[in-house]
């Protein structure tokens, strides 16, 4: 909220120091004690050289159809000014930007200096200005700029030579605070006054607010009704008769525009003035247009609308949900949010009904959201207003309307206002100290609470605190702990570290496995990626491991490419590859560890699984100048080797690979499913060449593994075996077999039949070139034998090796070479 400190000082004794440094210090103090400060300083801090002048003579410019040559008087000198303002007239008091003055350009927002100018041959020593031209936003200027320059009202008491910025309130000290949702009390000057008083030791001057509603006469000329307690806790109406609607005093207007509200007329301005002063939303209706003396607060009925005047589309109301004010058959307002202009106060209005309601905050909030309309009133009603001050605020506003518009208050009518009681909170000083970690005395605590103008009864440290209605945020003991803490100053709190029982912090096995998995891939040269988990539905399922699962789709997505939670990580990594390729990054090795979302039962949360995936693109060469670039480009085996190395390191044993052709977006000939025993872990291979071609991407090799499965399998710790002192014996095996036979099939046979001494089988050659018959291939393996306990005898190896060759010949018709 924009708080005008000069206005605020009406309510403080002795008042705040509004000098520049003092205001900066105050802003700092507000930040440390209450809420954040958005902006601080005068509304027109940069502008200068603007004076009030009297227009003494106006002549038309000979060479122009719209320029006037004027003589103005600034209290000392007579000055010639050429102006294009259509409304300039002799006798007016207007704003002159003198030669050398500085104003803010409306369009560029930059500070510009006014110079002597010649306009069609006539010299102008400055510029007559509109409010918009001296830095006031369009939204708060009472007249549009097309209407011309600003003219001071005769009654405003302004004289030639006055500093225009000063008399327009633009030199008032301002602090714009950013509200947290709880501090509804700081949405009024009255609330700000109490807060500033607590911080600075000022006393709040309550007299201006004490126009007690009880002092106003009751009247039967108007009636208020609330159809259900759930809609509003109270509605107060007042009737002000025989008003003369006109612009309000400059004193009121300038307070409004510095606070961000556009002045309208003396009735509406009085309402806004007291809205800002008290935080109580107020409305005004032309009593003679209502056609009835009764205003009813009720829910909208089916098919009802709120008219928006001639030519404007009416607002369709939500039956049973929107709170409306009605008069007879007419809906005259959507409570706290908008009104029907047909019933509004105009320049012809004679009698005014003012309304101050306490509408249900939750319903107001829903309605404001539903209709996309948020007003100063709805904002306050949603957050909570001072229920004890509604009628007084109405009294303030009624008297102001009567005074400013020369009317008289006929009286007040109310509905509701039952059981509005003060909140009482019990708390002990010990409790406060226990939560804050302090050792404050009873006196200190009581003093801090009293600074906030809370009523405190102290019985040996047991406090009974009565909360005034404006502090809607204080309802439980913890709230008072906060009040004491912030006023005492969080800077003054001691710093400690939790004492008592100290527990050992340790990672779970699952956490260790995940962390180890990351480290292994980093060691293998992969950068960790963190990609977006939301993507298009196609991408979300494009590279799934295993069976299809229903997707998790957002109800109201932000953009069409982020609608669905991923079920695989490869899609996100391919997006990362595309981003890199588009920026000419050629060699990419990325891995990602993260969740996928399987929405197997829409009524509950999805299954979330940790996956591990990676991509390889381009070259993995350690030095390309030694070997050619081409031969070091990644391929299936580069990827597979890394996945194998990972699985071995993390402790997944007996890993096997099976040719996999069913992965839709993978190369049918270069994809393998990964198993350990019968357990499926995931797959790896080349992304389908057509898939990458569509996105103009180079070859991508990718894998995706279910990390949950790996965690559950890889629980065994490393098993140490003493290194055998006995020598190893190796045998090379070269076989000619059908080209379709897989390495895995050969290995399975070797492992099955070779005896207990076989320690390792290393594949070392694949040959299909010259000398190999059509449809055949030559495979070569080195078999390593070792006896852990004794020297291995040659004969034992020969016999074991022969079993292998025999079995291969029998099973596959292999020709031993």
């Amino acid at each position: 909220m924009k708080t005008n400190l000069n206005w605020l000082n009406d309510y403080l004794t002795p008042g705040l120091d509004v000098s520049e440094q003092a205001v900066l210090d105050l802003a700092q103090q507000i930040e440390l004690t209450a809420v954040e400060v958005e902006e601080v300083g005068q509304a027109a801090a940069k502008q200068s050289g603007l004076v009030v002048v009297k227009v003494e003579e106006v002549k038309d410019h000979q060479d122009s159809d719209h320029l006037h040559i004027t003589q103005v008087f600034d209290g000392k000198e007579h000055i010639q000014i050429v102006t294009g303002a259509p409304n300039v007239a002799e006798g007016q008091l207007v704003i002159l930007a003198t030669v050398g003055s500085k104003i803010v350009d409306r369009e560029s927002g930059e500070l510009v200096k006014i110079r002597k100018a010649k306009l069609r041959g006539e010299v102008s020593y400055g510029m007559l200005s509109a409010l918009q031209e001296i830095g006031l936003p369009d939204a708060v200027c009472p007249q549009p700029i097309e209407d011309g320059i600003y003219v001071f009202d005769e009654k405003s008491g302004v004289k030639p030579g006055d500093d225009a910025l000063e008399v327009l309130g633009l030199k008032d000290a301002m602090i714009d605070t950013d509200l947290t949702p709880n501090r509804a009390d700081l949405l009024s000057l009255r609330g700000m006054a109490y807060e500033m008083a607590a911080m600075t030791g000022n006393k709040v001057n309550e007299a201006p607010f004490e126009e007690k509603a009880s002092a106003l006469p009751a009247t039967d000329k108007i009636q208020a009704e609330i159809t259900a307690d759930t809609l509003a806790t109270g509605l107060a109406l007042s009737l002000v008769e025989n008003v003369t609607v006109a612009p309000s005093d400059l004193k009121v207007q300038r307070r409004l525009w510095t606070s961000g509200i556009k002045p309208k007329n003396n009735v509406m301005d009085a309402l806004h003035y007291w809205l800002l002063a008290t935080g109580q939303p107020l409305a005004a209706f032309d009593a003679d247009k209502l056609g009835t003396d009764k205003i009813v607060v009720r829910l909208a009925s089916e098919g009802e609308v709120l008219g928006q005047g001639d030519g404007e589309e009416a607002i369709a109301l939500r039956a049973g949900q929107d709170i409306v004010l009605s008069a007879g058959n007419h809906v005259i307002a959507l409570a706290g949010i908008a009104m029907n202009p047909d019933f509004a106060v105009t320049n012809e209005t004679k009698n005014v009904v003012l309304a101050a309601g306490q509408y249900n905050p939750s319903l107001i909030r829903q309605a404001a959201r539903r209709h996309g309309l948020r007003s100063e009133s709805s904002f306050r009603l949603e957050r909570g207003i001072d229920l004890q001050n509604t009628q007084n605020a109405l009294a303030n506003a009624s008297n102001e309307v009567a005074e400013d518009a020369n009317g008289s208050v006929a009286g007040l009518a109310t509905a509701g206002f039952k059981n509005i009681e003060s909140t009482v909170i019990n708390i002990t000083v010990d409790r406060i100290n226990k939560v804050l970690g302090t050792d404050l005395s009873e006196e200190t605590v009581v003093d801090l609470l009293q600074k906030l103008n809370l009523q405190v009864a102290n019985d040996n440290g047991a406090l009974t605190v009565t909360v005034p209605g404006r502090r809607t945020d204080l309802s439980i003991p913890a709230d008072l702990v906060e009040e004491v803490g912030r006023l005492y100053g969080y800077d003054n709190l001691p710093t400690a570290l939790i004492d008592g029982q100290s527990t050992a912090g340790d990672l779970t096995l699952r956490q260790k496995k995940i962390r180890a998995s990351r480290k292994i891939f980093e060691g293998l040269g992969f950068n960790q990626a963190i990609s977006y988990a939301l993507m298009s539905p196609e991408k979300a399922t494009a590279f799934n491991i295993g069976a299809d699962h229903p997707v998790l789709a957002l109800d109201y997505p932000m953009s069409s490419d982020k609608t669905t939670a991923r079920q695989n990580l490869i899609s996100g990594l391919i997006d990362d590859v595309a981003y890199n390729v588009a920026r000419s990054v050629k060699n990419i090795a990325l891995y990602e560890q993260g969740r996928v979302f399987l929405n197997d039962n829409a009524a509950v949360q999805p299954v979330e699984q940790e996956h591990l995936a990676g991509v390889l693109v381009g070259s993995i060469a350690e030095s390309t100048w030694q070997a050619g670039q081409k031969e070091r480009d990644v391929d299936f085996f580069a990827l597979k080797g890394r996945v194998e190395a990972y699985l071995e390191a993390i402790g997944v044993e007996k890993v096997t690979f099976k040719q996999a052709q069913e992965h839709q977006n993978m190369h049918p000939g270069q994809t393998a499913d990964v198993y350990t025993g019968d357990v499926y872990l995931g797959y790896l291979g080349q992304v389908h060449p057509e898939f990458v071609a569509k996105q103009k991407l180079p070859a991508i090799f990718a894998f995706e593994l279910n990390l949950e499965t790996i965690i559950s399998l890889a629980e065994k710790d490393n098993a140490y075996q003493p290194i055998s002192r006995y020598p190893q014996i190796t045998r090379d095996l070269a076989i000619l077999v059908d080209a379709t036979l897989s390495n895995q099939e050969v290995l399975d046979v070797i492992n099955e039949v070779s005896g207990k001494y076989l320690k390792d089988v290393t594949f070392f050659d694949l040959y299909t070139g010259k000398g190999t018959p059509e449809g055949k291939k030559s495979l070569a393996y080195q078999l390593t034998y070792q006896n852990q306990e004794d020297t291995l005898v040659e004969e034992a190896v020969t016999s074991d090796f022969e079993k292998v060759t025999t079995a291969l010949t029998d099973k596959f018709g292999a020709e031993i070479r």
Binding site: T180, Y490, I498, G505, F597, Q605, S623
Partner: protein, 349 residues
Amino acid sequence: MTLAEELKGFLKEAEGQLSQPDVDVEAVRVAFLGKKGKITGVLKSMKDLSVDEKKEVGQVGNQVRTAIQEKIEEKKAEQEAKALEEKLASETLDVTLPGSKPKIGSAHVLQQIMDEIEAHFLGLGYQIIDDPTDSPEVETDEYNFERENLPKDHPARDMQDTFYITPEILLRTQTSPVQSRVLEKHDFSKGPLKMIAPGKVYRRDTDDATHSHQFHQVEGLVVGKNITMADLKGTLLSIMQELFGEKHQIRLRPSYFPFTEPSVEVDVSWDEVTPDTKPEDIKWIEVLGAGMTHPNVLKMDGLDPEEYTAFAFGLGPDRFAMLKYGVEDIRQFYLNDVRFLDQFNERGN
């Protein structure tokens, strides 16, 4: 010529041959000392001599043999040294050519920040909660909001735009729901609960330089019988000094979160603060929100707020990484530009 003289002559002859630079040393050895060599020949012909003569010739023979042997070894060493020198010379490389450098991968910068936070809190005896059961990214409205003291119409819900799946299921907007999930299971007979929960959160925001619909949080929660706001302040000071350096200071400002009361916003000093630093010269940067857990939250989690007190905080790894490294666009974290990722090596500091 006596045999002895003949032998001495061989020595001269051998010396002569071995003085040639490129002499085939092995050939010399064979010629003089081999089985059929000259010395052997002479010694073989000794059988006809008298015992004295044999003794004399034998002595000379041995002397000559040893001398030739020595010369040969000497020459051999000389030649080998030369050969080695030549070989090394021929193997000389341009050592300024690039090395064969294996690529070392890197943890993502956000991961590094989270790892650092985790290590700090592990040291303080905290548990880390990051499994899908206790820390799901898809949450219920109940845990994400209601259990955090944010009923359906609460104005503070405006602070967080939410991706809903159904009216009851949503992408979590904060890691706070982990608090309730862990708290309701904790056995307080085993001591206070001290936990952090790192993880992804989501907000219905338009992505730009400072907003991302996906980002990270590390929730912290400590619940026990004597947990104070001073403990919170000390804890936050220690983690901020861990992340930003030990000479940095923090300050607490009042704020509002529905799930804490009192609530504070925490600023960290942009520069180091020494005893000589004037308060007005400190530039404060807002880094996190924290507070004493709201009694309603404790109650909903089955604890008596009169008996237990608690503090909670929410750290933002994305924001920390931006501040620490001067990353100006939050989207950089999720685009995975290799040139970006490669800049964050694990330095160990």
